[in-house]
Symmetry: C2
Subunit: 248 residues, 2 copies
Amino acid sequence: MERRNFLKKGLLAGAGIAAGIVAGRVPAFGATEVRESKDVKLPLPYVKLDPEEIADRAYSGYFHHECCYGVFGSILDALKEKVGGPYLGIPSLMFWYGGGGIAGWGTVCGTLNGAAAIFNLTCKDFKPMIDVLFEWYEKTPLPDYQPKVCGKVDIPNFPKSVSHSPLCHVSVMRWCKIASVALKKPVLYNSPERSERCARLTASVARKAVELLNAYHFGGFKPTPIKGTQKTKMECFICHEAAMKELS
Amino acid sequence: MERRNFLKKGLLAGAGIAAGIVAGRVPAFGATEVRESKDVKLPLPYVKLDPEEIADRAYSGYFHHECCYGVFGSILDALKEKVGGPYLGIPSLMFWYGGGGIAGWGTVCGTLNGAAAIFNLTCKDFKPMIDVLFEWYEKTPLPDYQPKVCGKVDIPNFPKSVSHSPLCHVSVMRWCKIASVALKKPVLYNSPERSERCARLTASVARKAVELLNAYHFGGFKPTPIKGTQKTKMECFICHEAAMKELS
């Protein structure tokens, strides 16, 4: 019932968009309804997606427009194909900027930024979804995705690391350190190995995000409470012990 | 000419969206054009906005759906009103998730995440725009916005701080420390003062983002090269001196 009402509103909004472009303004016909539903209402309807298929698309997407696009674009494009409607008005490239922790600044991992945006689009209660994904990302040895056809580098037993943090530069640095030991050579940020790692990580996070979305919408999602300080849900000790002493 | 072509494509895409919802599929009429322009092409057209007006709207927006929405939604909504077309298909609430450094995780400041997304939507070369905004945010005493009507707290000589970082929890912590000294009482994360600070910061960043957008599109934008390490454009010493020793 909720979904039917949504689709009805979406129809009016969609018609309004097209008519608005033609006339250059909100049309007289059905003006009240169009004005009421002028903004695209969230959450958008979600249909079950195949986590493995999305992972493959995300992996490939990374090599086109980086990590954040890889996750956001792969899921959005699948929803454009399977649901259409309101998804068609959202540009697939709008999360390109999130690559490398936002244009290379090394802040939040782009894969998480892209996944969080998809949760915001499709889940009424998106914050517990973000909490579960971020905690999984911090604690899981990643990347855990094996591509069917490799991008640039094919290494048997591809190195995995536990990031302990949702931040790009922390996550990347830990992986480079572990990969350097495993591969017996310095593995730096600008190496093809690091790029391959981030492509596989993009696939890992996209797959996990879809698994969570399927669970949220079709049963089985379990929120996990996050213990954080008052200022952040990240673990302070990972970066700075001194600051923790100051806080306590 | 480029703009005209864009608008023409937007028209077809827009019509496709509405017709697609009605028919549940891409319509036979004009199918080729619709398929070609199925994704909304970036960048979208930009018209000059009033930085002060956007700042006021962003300040108010913060109290509805937090910082990231405050910046993204205030600029998007103004472009929906003044340009319409492709902007109308983008949900204004889609950056709610970025609040508190993404759902309270304290990663990238939500105001920066929202502004970076707008740059991605409207600027072909969005990365230098992000660099200039992030560097300004790191080095400027903020918030520098004075609301016409205050939200929760009206303090004469409202405290300002220099964040030295684009991260939410670092930025907030520095401000709380300085505010505690200035106001001669402990100013904590969960205080109305901190909330008021983030609302004013939302306005400051939205205003700066619009100033940069106006300069980028109508003349006067100057990119500034950022000195960073290979892994991040942030300054490592701000958080961890030990890690820098390890890197060098």
